[in-house]
Symmetry: C2
Amino acid sequence: MGTVFPPQSIVDIQNRIAAGETTPRQALAESARRIDADDEELRAFVARAPLPADVPVDGPLRGIAVGVKDLFDTFDLPTTYGSPIYRDHQPRADAAIVAQVRGAGGWVAGKTATTEFAAMNPAATRNPHDRLRSPGGSSSGSAAAVAAGFIPVALGTQTAGSIIRPAAYCGIAGLKPSFRLLPTVGVKTFAWSLDTVGLFAPSARDVARFAGILSRRPLDHEAGLDIDRLRLGIYRSGIYDQLDPAMADALRKGARVGEELGWFVRDVEETESLRTGREIQAVIQDYEGAMSLLDERTRHRGEISPALLQALDRGGAIEATRYDEARRSARRARRATAELFDNVDLILAPSASGVAPLLSEGSTGDPAFNRLWTLAGTPCINVPGLRAPNGLPLGLTLVARFGGDRLLLAGAVRFEAGLRRT
Amino acid sequence: MGTVFPPQSIVDIQNRIAAGETTPRQALAESARRIDADDEELRAFVARAPLPADVPVDGPLRGIAVGVKDLFDTFDLPTTYGSPIYRDHQPRADAAIVAQVRGAGGWVAGKTATTEFAAMNPAATRNPHDRLRSPGGSSSGSAAAVAAGFIPVALGTQTAGSIIRPAAYCGIAGLKPSFRLLPTVGVKTFAWSLDTVGLFAPSARDVARFAGILSRRPLDHEAGLDIDRLRLGIYRSGIYDQLDPAMADALRKGARVGEELGWFVRDVEETESLRTGREIQAVIQDYEGAMSLLDERTRHRGEISPALLQALDRGGAIEATRYDEARRSARRARRATAELFDNVDLILAPSASGVAPLLSEGSTGDPAFNRLWTLAGTPCINVPGLRAPNGLPLGLTLVARFGGDRLLLAGAVRFEAGLRRT
């Protein structure tokens, strides 16, 4: 078992640079050193960039090494989308958010492992907390690299549960912002109605800082928000019989933490529209995925894993009328989600059924608990802080109304502190 | 002045193939022959495909030569996005809809000229009706190639007015379907909230046939629709002082045709929300465009035209708060547009201020009359059939509610027949 470094905090690095305690070059060199030391075993990165001769010394991301999921195009590093079809693919341009990272003075340290086209076929990455376990997917390498202390922040994407779940399994903060808050331009499309760019960092405070910089909005400022008296809804879904006992207990702990914070805690029930939304998310994902990857599944069938090929062919067989009906259900679910927030400010829900699965199970875990929030486009965050009796991380999701990213992050910072005290 | 061939109709070609009067190979060869004969002067195509040895003989698009705007990726033809930055760019995969064209047995005859990144810098294409005039933009080559009778159908995109306007200037049908009815995967993004894939054909009936095949929905079937008693709203916008007298007259003729068809014709006023929507479309376009092309405008400034560079830099200077306010205005405009259709089934509006501008003016025309319908995501079609006193085509737009593509097309077929009788 290799070394796990302590987490790198973007807030801390920025403070130390501002105080003259470190330089951007030293901060980046430390990230590079850690990756060098341990990634051969962890396998979070699939391509590395050399430390630049001229390290940017301006911009809010100076000194910040950023892991970029290998689903985002980069002009200077190959981009495989996790597929052998693109094994030697070199994009011409950066994805929009990668260009933003560089424009803000950040360093793209390398490309992090993704499952095949961000679907279910596992990447080779291991979980830093137990290297016989999966880091989750599809943003496997980004979550693992942050959790291993290699880098302070990373980019990922979520179509069903690909940010929230790996963040939960790896014990870090993962933010899926409001739909299209961060641009998907230059990211390989799976399902255009669902694909969402998101962020990883060790803590809610760190991910808020990163989100504030990339969104160009004051997402890490609490000014004007009343975090003392939030209304917290404990979400009650029809699939909670799938929760491991440790996760059911974590959810109870989360409710208790809410009360300890002085928040108003109440249950929120999954309505019929929400249940339908959760269920038909897969129809939209499958239909759009089959269309997005039509060229690949036509001309490169032999280079697609059997599981994905089956999913794509299944999606290609869905009638347009069924997809249209699913889109109408999705609109109803979005409205029903918005109505939930008439009565609560934040919702608490499980990020996954339990702890990370063993690699030997051949799965990155089940996104069932994430599907509704992706479909709804509502911002959500995996809040770390709890552990199962076996010591592995357990993640809880906080959700806010569409556009409520700032309230979500401020609440998550407070909530994470509470969880870590339990 | 080169030869202008009579239009090629997809419906007609399909009928003749079915009747054994022609073969798919003969139909494609005729398209290729016409392009060979005249495109050196018209300059609709920027890349050509050789006629394949094995012509597909199955699929609804067998025998159909398709022009593909050079904004769509093609695995077998270079794709420049109209920019010297991509002069030698060869994508790895087909755009989703291009793969659909091929899967349906269609032949990608070549890539058609686009303005630079589908923005305002003109392509070299000439208008088939007057070669000293612009075919409009940004889907310049697609519209011109169909209008010149080279090919029966073509693919385009619209972010402000890039389908409707060139269709109007070229005297053909141009369909901008409901937002995301056709996939944008593999199309170079300018503004993700606005970019819409659309289609060109000589007539409404032809474009309906093509749309039905590519959308996998029965868009060219009138069954169950009552086209005899439609309610037609004549749209009254605050910018009609910009209409040329010929276009103002065309709009009056359109209203008369509606009455002659037995439709209920009434005026529909531009409300405050709609006016704001029309005006803030440019904010969204500029902001998103600056982000989508951030890599290019950072690393390739010298290879971007001054006009576009200015627009991108202007977009990059827009504050996120102003963009968010524009998005809220867009939502209000979408709701207001939906409310218009509580009282009417279709709306009639001008497609442009008048006829195609002269090439010497250096402009592809003004999209002011198209912005609202793009922002709203409502399906609309340029209906050809009228001409100005100088003989050049004038186009009218029909608009339907979001998702009402089938009604729109059925109404447009009827309306076009009425226009052609005037």
